[in-house]
Amino acid sequence: MCQTPRVATNNFRSLVDSPARGDASASDSEPKADEPKGLGPAGWLRWAWRSLTTMRTALVLLLLLALAAVPGSLVPQEGRQPAQAADFRERNPDLAPVLDRLGFFDVYASPWFAAVYLLLFVSLAGCIVPRTRQYVRTLRSRPPAAPSRLDRLPQHAVWTACCDRGEVLLTAADLLRRRRFRVDVDMEGDGSVSGEKGYLREAGNLVFHTALFGLLIALAVGSLFGTTGQKLVLEGDSFTNTVTQYDDFTPGTLASADSLKPFGFQLKGFSATYQRGGPQRGTASSFVARLNYTEREGGRARDARVEVNKPLEVDGSKVFLVGHGYAPVVTVRDGKGEVAWQGPAAFLPQDSNLTSVGVIKAPDALDRKGKRDGLGFSGLFLPTVQLTSNGWQSSFPATDDPVLVLTAHHGDLGMDSGQPQNVYQLDSTRMTQFREADGSPFAQALRPGDRMKLPGGAGSLTFDGIKQWASFQIARNPSNATALWSSVAMGLGLCASLFVRRRRVWVRVEPMQSGRVRIAVAGLDPGGTERTAEEVAELADELRERFPAPRTATPDVNAPAPLHQEQK
């Protein structure tokens, strides 16, 4: 019911008019957009616009929107879970190209999803604007005059009394005003009082629907100007907020690199605690990263704790703790006995017990003769080692019994090729694996302090200790406040729209021949709530107390005697 003049009145009108005029079916049906009758392009346009802005279209579009959101939850989404999406593609080689063409791997950015919500919002705009105009007009105008026959309304009371007509009308108006109705008294023609209340309902509806635009804008601004990035930081290491420092950086379409605020932090330490017993043994109970941060270069350094759900907020950006893991600290010596590489190497967790995989690269190692022959190690880090039939595994996420299991390669690590390399993988295409005398791959399990000597005196690796790392998501979304305030407005508008009752009350006083007057009180509430019935009854009671019916009044139009009913 979004066509302008019908909006505010339709519900009331169908109730007021239908019993009297018997045109319930006509006023009850959706105002059909007039079919274009050879009106040319302008007529067609008008027709399309009218169709688009009907409530029925809004309803259908809402259903379409719900439907359109479904596939994105069933098919892994490229942006959110790239690994699962790739896996899904592999497992469904026939289906994947079709889904790809339909945009099912990126539903919420697909043109058809956009089409649905944009149409919905166009429809919404076409709805809000005329409704607002209509609402303002309603506020400016007087409450509508009483319908011709009040006793046809569902809630009414009629009685005769002997008193002055004007006095009854003024008293009625006064009673209504005290109940905070907007009141209009018509002393001249009809001799009636009209009151209306609950204008906040429509206001709430308009605020709610307008706030939806606020949300849409917030979402758009967020995806255009927001930035997010991830960074893995080792204990003791630092991070400064520039694009080059990120492991992974996703700026919004229109975000510029200078929108990054110049803050920085050092990860002083990370600690995690895990449940030691019970059915959820090994489940984490807390993660805490201790940071020391500065708002800008050279600024004062401050300490902060970052936990899951408790980000650090610096200058409009937020630093979230999103992951953690271990970094074995090793020293690699080459064939000459020189230190070829030293430090912690971050290993990436593979399961909830933090069985982690990683690599250690010493590209500049020399062999015994002094020739360059890079060394590369790859393997597992197990915080609490357990050897099962499936091989090496970790049985608990804390470092109760840490073991590093490594194999080794030598040759060209390919790090000078200029091509970007994954720091967590070993490109062994131009390398050869060290082997035991029997030809099986050379591998060794090391506990902290252990040393691994490579065959043929090619070098060694010592496992010096363990550090932890934490990974952070650093996000800046300039539209968070807009989104929040739109939601608040939406919630308030919705409550007003659903809980405020809009209702009208009329009192008519007709002179009768005997010098008496016939008083009729009636109310109308399109929601048909009981409260309105009670309200009308209370008003009638109060009015009747002041202008009672004389004893001789005909009983049938008076208050019925209290009636007792048993009800199940």
């Binding site: 059915p279 109970s285 208050a559």
Partner: protein, 368 residues
């Protein structure tokens, strides 16, 4: 950190015993509620008749006098009321089938007694059930809705509380007992048999006061949406029957049951009221979830499956509310939409937790 002390384990044990007791009492209540229908007279059933305006039961007359009602049997929460309809209430156009049925007991006092017993048992079961949820919460020192078992029991609690709440508000809804108790029993049965996990601490992602806010709002909404869905189903049944009768197909075999239900109009309105009542709360639950997501992951909306289905549920209920205001969609189509919306709510819980993995996978079910 060793999670569970002895006292906590005892509390957890107590929670389990209370849960089994609650299920047993719900079962008895369910049997009693069925018995009320079975023993209830098939009698005249329809209260409204043009011949006796004094007995007219228009919706207005029925609850309009609520404020003046007296003599309510509070102990059983029974809805027997002495009502004085407001002076202004005028009879609605009398339709043969437009009136409300007499309820499950019909005019039989014996069945009425059984019905009251069913309500008393439901209240008792609700108390045991609340005790169980409370004990579980105390055992783990956190809101007891951290995994699917806990969420299911809390949801069933709200479903049953919504029903008892309506009775306590003197709404004549005893006829809701059978279907509500049925789904409460189903949910609890599923919870204790399939979804059960021992009490345990939460993963850090759930350490947040937003858990209280967001999940409580979602569970309460769920309980009321559930009631609305049950009413919608009954509406569809009753409406079909009314249409069949109006079309001259006779009253049919189920008439003894259907005629005792409230009129389709009353049912439709009740379903709408309940939905309209909690829709803002559900909206709030979704927004609170977004605020929490922002605090936990740095984005308030990321189309995670759980978020996506919360959105779908929200849009579906918005569509239902629109349908109610759109001619041609009122009534049956709107009711079906309401049921679809509830189905999406249920799917968001069971379907998404079990079938789809996302950031919200904290159901606590063993994974294979």
């Amino acid at each position: 950190m060793s999670g569970t002390s002895l006292a906590d384990q005892n509390l957890a044990q107590l929670a389990n015993w209370l849960m089994y007791s609650a299920i047993a009492v719900y079962l008895l209540a369910f049997v009693a509620a069925c018995a009320e229908w079975a023993f209830g007279s098939r009698g005249p059933g329809i209260r409204t008749s043009a011949a006796s305006p004094a007995k007219q039961q228009t919706p207005v007359a029925r609850t309009g006098g609520r404020t003046r009602s007296a003599a309510v049997d509070g102990a059983t929460g029974s809805s027997t009321q002495v009502l004085a309809p407001p002076a202004t209430a005028s009879p609605e156009p009398a339709q043969a089938l437009g009136g409300d049925g007499t309820g499950a007991a019909g005019d039989s006092p014996k069945a009425d007694l059984v019905g009251r017993i069913a309500v008393s048992l439901t209240v008792l079961a609700l108390l045991l059930h609340s005790g169980s949820v409370l004990a579980r919460g105390l055992a783990v020192s956190r809101p007891p809705w951290g995994n699917m078992y806990e969420f299911s029991t809390a949801f069933a609690l709200m479903a049953s509380a919504a029903y008892v709440g309506l009775l306590a508000a003197r709404k004549p809804v005893r006829w809701l007992g059978v279907p509500v108790l049925f789904s409460v029993l189903l949910t609890l049965g599923l919870a204790v048999s399939v979804l059960y996990v021992d009490s345990a601490q939460l993963v850090p992602a759930l350490h947040s006061y937003w858990l209280w806010i967001h999940v409580s709002a979602a569970i309460i909404s769920g309980g009321v949406f559930h009631t609305a869905a049950v009413v919608s189903i009954l509406y569809l049944v009753r409406d079909r029957w009314e249409r069949a009768v109006a079309a001259g197909h006779g009253q049919g075999r189920g008439a003894g049951l259907w005629r005792r239900l409230p009129s389709s109009r009353t049912l439709d309105k009740l379903a709408y009221r309940l939905t309209g009542l909690v829709f803002p709360l559900w909206t709030f639950a979704v927004i609170a979830g977004a605020v929490w997501a922002e605090a936990a992951w740095g984005r308030y909306w990321g189309w995670d499956p759980k978020e996506t289905w919360a959105f779908i549920t929200w849009v579906a209920y918005a569509a239902y509310l629109h349908a109610r205001a759109t001619a041609g969609w009122k009534g049956r189509r709107a009711a079906v939409l309401g049921l679809v919306a509830f189905a999406t709510f249920v799917f968001n819980y069971y379907g998404v937790n079990i079938l789809i993995t996302g950031l919200h996978s904290y159901g606590g079910l063993p994974t294979n």
